[in-house]
């Protein structure tokens, strides 16, 4: 059994790792993945390069851990929505609002997913293939769809067709917002988008 002090050291190391990932995320998001170096991240977090490698053995390792972290943050939010007693229609509203809120408050999370994870697959093919790094988030979406079909509200169809419609739509809107193409603030579109998603997925 681990002693209290060992646990405390472990917790501190985990906290430090999370803090590094948050800083790295912002740098990757603003400077780009390939142009951001490990020493640059170490400098930003105030750490020697040697010590930095105690936390992440390579940039690819860091990239993978960041994706797992984002998936876990989004998955946790989705889990709360799934566990609530709301209707499927209300849950769609909540998911759209949650996603756009995170895109506004912590844009680097969504940016990383769209611009780095999806756009630079070569970084992730070895250790992050398939669902490995996004399973927290995707599992919650599966549970949401499963519940929607079982309760007779959503149409039974292929999972990826529904996933693409839902998350592709939200990702696309966040992308357009990031490109400053949208004439209105993102949250102005929430209710129309939620309604469109509901209409597209519901049982006719």
């Amino acid at each position: 059994m681990k002693s209290e002090s060992e646990k405390s050291v472990r917790t501190k190391k985990e906290d430090r790792k999370t803090s590094i990932m948050q800083t790295a995320l912002k740098l990757f998001s603003s400077e780009g993945f390939y142009t951001t170096t490990m020493p640059a991240i170490a400098k930003k977090v105030g750490m020697s390069v040697g010590n930095f490698y105690n936390y992440f053995s390579s940039k690819d390792e860091l990239a993978k851990e960041i994706m797992l972290y984002i998936s876990s943050v989004l998955g946790e939010q989705l889990r709360e929505i799934n566990m609530s007693e709301k209707s499927v229609r209300e849950k769609i509203d909540m998911i759209v609002k949650m996603y756009f809120r995170i895109a506004q408050e912590r844009p680097e999370l969504i940016e990383y997913f769209l611009r780095i994870f999806l756009s630079n697959r070569e970084i992730f093919t070895k250790s992050c293939s398939g669902m490995v790094c996004v399973s927290d988030f995707v599992t919650e979406l599966m549970l949401f769809f499963d519940d929607g079909v079982q309760s007779g509200v959503l149409k039974d169809q292929d999972f990826f067709s529904a996933l693409g419609l839902f998350m592709g739509y939200l990702g696309g809107m966040v992308f357009l917002n990031g490109e400053e193409v949208l004439p209105q603030p993102l949250h102005d579109y929430e209710s129309a988008i939620a309604e469109n998603i509901y209409n597209a997925l519901r049982k006719q």
């Binding site: 293939s129 398939g130 669902m131 399973s135 599992t139 919650e140 039974d156 292929d158 990826f160």
Partner: protein, 294 residues
């Protein structure tokens, strides 16, 4: 000579499947020597059905095969009367097959009246509901060894531990998944695309209920060599109270997500595990292990 325990085999609404299955029991001669068969639909017995129906005899073991319909007539007597009489004299009542245990297939013909002798699906109901004399041997049909085991335990005066559905734990504590030769495919989520192949897991598309069915079919093999899953057919969950379900050759999914997941695991945990396992490609499991065409 010591008198032998008296055994009565009564039939309700049945297809005779359990009677026929039990004829394959390799130690049948031991059973015939150990027990006195008062009546059996096929095997030599002491009395005729007419004599049994007069309710003038008593038995030590009552074996009931088929679904229970109290209104059914047997040689001029109501089933309700026969069951009450012989059930009260017996020390042990064995329901053989899923119809006798839970209503099974024949319950479909008259769901309001027809039940098992101690359960209606999973609810305790029927003439022997909550009776501590009742042992359920569910299955469609039962494996001959399951009844053989039960009778030999009784003959040896040994205690048979039962689960909440009155099934012997020795036979039903396991899942049909236990001992399945396709477990490697289940672990890595590789589907069987067709029936009858040696490769692939039957759970994802073909309707296999092995991971949620209490049965020892892959532990005590049929004819000592086989089981449904070994020949490439899905387990239909025939030992469970909800048998028969509909669309038994299909896995019910909602947006490609299985509605039912293996027993005892939350859907959230199962989907997490599945998503990750599916991410690994294992070429060895994606092709035929033995391809006769090359």
């Amino acid at each position: 000579m010591k008198s032998r325990p008296k055994l009565l085999w009564l039939q309700g609404v049945t297809c005779n499947g359990n009677t026929h299955s039990f004829l394959n029991y390799p130690h049948l001669s031991y059973i015939l020597e150990t027990f006195e068969f008062l009546y059996h639909p096929i095997l030599p017995a002491t009395y005729t059905l007419e004599k049994i129906a007069s309710c003038t005899q008593s038995c030590d073991i009552l074996i009931f095969e088929g679904a229970y319909d109290p209104r059914m007539m047997r040689a001029g007597s109501r089933m309700e009367t026969l069951v009450q009489h012989y059930g009260s004299t017996a020390n042990t009542i064995i329901a053989v097959g899923s119809c006798a245990s839970f209503g099974g297939m024949f319950k479909q013909s008259d769901p309001e009246y027809i039940t098992g002798v101690g359960f209606d699906r999973e609810i305790a109901k029927g003439p022997f509901a909550k009776s501590n004399k009742l042992i359920n041997l569910s299955g469609c049909p039962i494996h001959p060894e399951w009844l053989g085991y039960t009778l030999r335990m009784i003959a040896d005066n040994k205690v048979i531990l039962i689960d909440e559905m009155h099934r012997p734990k020795e036979l039903y504590a396991y899942l049909a998944h236990h001992g399945c030769t396709r477990n490697e495919y289940f672990e890595w989520k590789v589907d069987a695309e067709h029936f009858g192949t040696k490769e692939g897991c039957l759970f994802y598309k073909q309707g296999c209920r092995g991971p949620m069915t209490h049965a020892s079919c892959n532990k005590i093999l049929w004819n000592d060599v086989s089981s449904k899953t070994r020949i490439g057919s899905p387990c239909f969950g025939c030992t469970e109270p909800d048998f028969p379900r509909t669309n038994m050759f299909e896995t019910k999914t909602n947006m490609s997500i299985p509605q039912d997941v293996p027993l005892g695991i939350s859907k959230r945990s199962y989907l997490t595990l599945t998503g990750i396992a599916k991410s690994f490609r294992i070429p060895r499991l994606e092709k035929r292990l033995i391809d006769d065409n090359t």
